[in-house]
């Protein structure tokens, strides 16, 4: 029997962190978060930079004041969760890709590829565009839209709920179609016992009272793309004439936020050169305009565009993120929602223990549909011939999809194998990777340090809230499940 215990232990793959005086570990192979007592973190510290044999480890613990039984129990617990692992253990091969019959969960309908704005950094029309819309329909027809709904409900096989996101171009340039699709999909879903949820993304320039009433009545989630107060919004979110769009959208946004009470209204900010004033943008959108949630993302570009965020810009952005993160925590400890989506989203994933094989659901549970009915991994690849995954009429091209998914699997990204943040990141956006590196399966290496720092921050928030106000996390998990 004793010969079974002669192996050496080393630390398992984990990220240890501390919050409000407590020790925690984030287990990379599972996405699990455990709180550690002093004894457990003591064992991890001992194995920080070396391996120890089982008898040596037990002996060291006994010398430290533990009984033999306690020491064995402690080592056993850490071993069972893989916080420590025998050094001779062979790592299991990465799991294969998602099953081929994975049911579809969401469609992004690009109901038009036309836009009334000409934002200079746009991924669809800007310098780094990959779309090839020449000669294709500019607006989705009702037939294509209905066929898409039928496709979604059929491919969703057995799901109790599915989701349709309307996207553009500027989504509201095809509002009549949107209205019809909501009616059609709701009726068809009801007949099948499947609840269809809706959301849309808009630049808010075309919002009217009638549209706002419709969105509220049908509980359609709204995300507004906007960059902040007038000086920042008007820098790059402009009409073709160069005129800024703030003055047009401001009164409309106030009406939207006042009139749409059934779903949270979210702002989505694109950070670019000179638009890095995160805190001022957040205050304006959250407090002056009244958005429920505000999320930020750096612009997607191939690098070295005049609107690109440089290193200094990113550092400043991250500093301000941390300031808002501290606020988020303070709100959470008082049981209040803060509204900074970049924390909320990550916390939502940490509650579940998300461990991604792919950075997002693109090509798995989610597909994009172009105005002509072409399928793509998501809305960002809409109308790009080289990324088509079939058509609504002919169905998913499984060879192309398998190729896309096998390239995008986190196990296929070399640099990710040694990174503890991969359960949540999985290499980052497929589209961003293609624009930057010409390969959807490339890890987004320009963000690695940023992602690790940010994930660590969110883990510390998670640890602090779980120690001081755990009920808030439960409430938050439910809220995430409903959104």
């Amino acid at each position: 029997m004793t010969s079974m215990m002669t192996h050496s232990y080393r630390r398992g793959e984990l990220h240890a962190f501390e919050a409000v005086g407590h020790d925690f570990m984030y287990l990379v192979s599972a996405g699990a978060v455990f709180a550690l007592d002093d004894a457990a973190s003591g064992v991890l510290s001992r194995l920080d930079d070396r391996e120890m044999s089982h008898p040596d480890l037990i002996q060291a613990l006994v010398e430290g004041g533990y009984s033999n039984i306690d020491a064995e129990e402690l080592v056993r617990e850490l071993r069972l969760v893989q916080g420590i692992v025998p050094s001779d253990v062979v790592k299991a091969p990465p799991p294969p890709g998602p099953p081929k019959d994975f049911p579809l969960q969401a469609l992004v309908l690009n109901i038009t590829n036309q836009c009334n704005l000409a934002c200079t950094y746009c991924y669809e029309f800007g310098a780094d565009k990959i779309a090839t819309p020449q000669g294709k329909p500019k607006y989705m027809t009702l037939d294509t839209a209905k066929a898409s709904v039928d496709f979604l409900l059929k491919e969703a096989a057995g799901r109790k709920g599915v989701h349709i996101t309307f996207f553009g171009g500027e989504t509201l340039m095809n509002f009549r179609l949107l209205q019809e699709v909501v009616g059609y999909a709701t009726a068809k879903g009801d007949a099948q016992g499947c609840k269809v949820g809706f959301s849309l993304t808009t630049n808010a320039t075309l919002l009217t009272d009638e549209i706002i009433a419709f969105l509220s009545e049908n509980a359609i989630g709204v995300t507004v793309s906007m960059d902040g107060p007038p000086d920042l919004q008007n820098k790059r979110r402009v009409y073709k004439s160069g005129k800024g769009s703030y003055e047009v959208i401001e009164p409309r946004l106030r009406k939207l936020i006042a009139g749409h009470k059934t779903r949270a209204i979210t702002a989505r900010v694109t950070l670019t050169d000179g638009v890095t004033d995160v805190i001022r943008i957040f205050r304006h959108l959250k407090e002056d305009l009244g958005f429920h949630e505000v999320g930020f993302a750096p612009v997607t570009d191939a690098g070295k565009r005049d609107y690109s965020l440089d290193e200094d810009g990113m550092v400043s952005v991250l500093d301000q993120f941390h300031e808002l993160a501290d606020e988020w925590l303070e709100y959470a400890l008082r049981g209040k929602m803060h509204g900074f989506s970049n924390v909320s989203e990550t916390i939502g994933e940490l509650i579940q223990g998300t461990n991604k094989s792919h950075p997002c659901g693109a090509g798995i549970g989610l597909l994009g549909v172009s105005p002509s009915g072409d399928l793509s991994p998501c809305h960002r690849f809409t109308d790009a011939d080289t990324h088509s995954l079939g058509t609504i009429a002919t169905g998913v091209d499984h060879n192309k999809r398998d190729d896309f998914l096998s390239k995008g699997h986190v196990g296929a990204k070399y640099e990710c194998q040694t990174c503890w943040a991969r359960p949540l990141c999985a290499g980052g956006c497929h589209h961003e990777a293609f624009v930057r590196y010409g390969d959807t399966g490339h890890a987004n290496l320009h963000y690695c340090d940023w992602i690790r720092t940010w994930t660590d921050t969110c883990l510390k928030i998670y640890g602090a809230v779980s120690a001081l106000n755990p009920a808030f996390l439960e409430r938050f998990a439910e809220r995430k499940a409903l959104s």
Binding site: F24, L27, A30, G31, A32, V33, F34, A35, L36, D37, A39, A40, E73, L74, E77, L78, L80, V81, G83, L350, I351, Q352, G353, N355, Y462, G463, S466
Partner: protein, 109 residues
């Protein structure tokens, strides 16, 4: 677990998995006591044994009795037909094992 506290759903799943395997196999000395196992070891039947002289004549029960202990009470499908699932009638022609054992046939699962 005493030293680790699960904080998210994945950690809870791991904890539950570990607890469930812990309760799976229970030794005789383990709580709740007394732990009463099922099967031949409880009935003190001779196993596949020999007597002190190296034969089977001196065993406290006839060796054929083993067949029924394994077949009916023990569900030990490696050595005898499986009474529970596949061969419920295997011993129906064998009223008294010491006399009728020839009518026990080989089965092909």
């Amino acid at each position: 677990m005493k030293h680790l506290r699960p904080l998210n759903k994945k950690a809870q799943q791991i904890d539950e998995l570990i607890s469930s395997t812990e309760e799976d196999v229970v030794a005789l000395q383990q709580a709740p006591r007394p732990h009463v196992p099922m099967g031949c070891s409880l009935a003190f039947s001779p196993g596949w044994e020999v007597d002190a002289g190296g034969g089977t004549a001196g065993l406290c029960q006839p060796v054929e009795r083993d067949i029924y202990d394994c077949y009916v009470t023990c569900f030990w499908p490696v050595q005898v037909p499986d009474h529970v699932n596949y061969s419920p009638d295997w011993a129906s022609n064998c009223a008294v094992a010491t006399k009728d054992w020839r009518s026990l046939d080989i089965v092909f699962p």
